[in-house]
Symmetry: C2
Subunit: 111 residues, 2 copies
DNA sequence: TTATCATATGAATATACATTCATATATTTG
DNA sequence: CAAATATATGAATGTATATTCATATGATAA
């Protein structure tokens, strides 16, 4: 036990969210932390798209896109509706854009 | 080439950010996507802390904390100042809180 | 029903990464 | 200077995960 910082530690500890919140928060951001998923989200900014359209746009295999869409769906970032043989995916709500917008502000401020 | 979705694809493609932005964005969110780093960020919400204080608070090895602080520093989420033998880390700017706040809004809205 | 199209999914693989361990660096104190 | 303290860092390891491949499911059309 080296130098003392009990006061500051108490304050920091008192303001630390519980584990559930910490896990859910980092799990949420983890979903944004992948280029493929980020591309998928941006592709849905202007409206819904079916899986094969996304795959064509990103030049990726349909399977890979489906796997990532599942992750996005589990995180409540996208939803979909069935239309005949296709599944049309769309952004689940406006938070998605808000969160990305905050990220954009940050990266655009680096000199 | 199955059914047609050229119109929607054009719109989506036109609004897709360039690769640099996509990479920087997902790289930024990736940094938030880890429980340890999230804890470190929250521990700095009320003010600066030295490395050993963070390690003590999180009950983690100093080395692990240092490694994660480096990642946070590279992402411009934290800065530090030298004070004698210790390094005092603090949040780099208010974006950090804004981004986390947006994430909190999202996870708290799940029913 | 059979064939086709659109999507989902399990298993396998390759890569990314968080933590640990050992050690290096830097500052202060004796 | 040597010893102690605070931190940083490279290498190794184990785990998480993105993609691919093969295949299953589900809907429509012939």
């Amino acid at each position: 036990m080296a130098h003392n910082h009990d006061e500051k530690l108490k304050i920091a500890a008192a303001n630390m969210p519980n584990d559930r919140v910490l896990f859910e928060l980092s799990d949420l951001f983890k979903v944004f932390g992948d280029t493929t998923r980020m591309k998928i989200l941006f592709s849905l900014f202007e409206g819904e798209l079916c899986v094969c359209a996304i795959a064509e746009l990103l030049k990726m295999e349909q399977s890979a896109v489906s796997h990532q869409l599942k992750i996005l769906k589990n995180a409540n970032l996208v939803s979909f509706r069935r239309e005949g043989k296709t599944n049309c995916y769309f952004l689940a709500d406006e938070h998605v854009k808000s969160i990305i917008a905050q990220g954009l502000v940050h990266i655009e401020e680096e000199i």
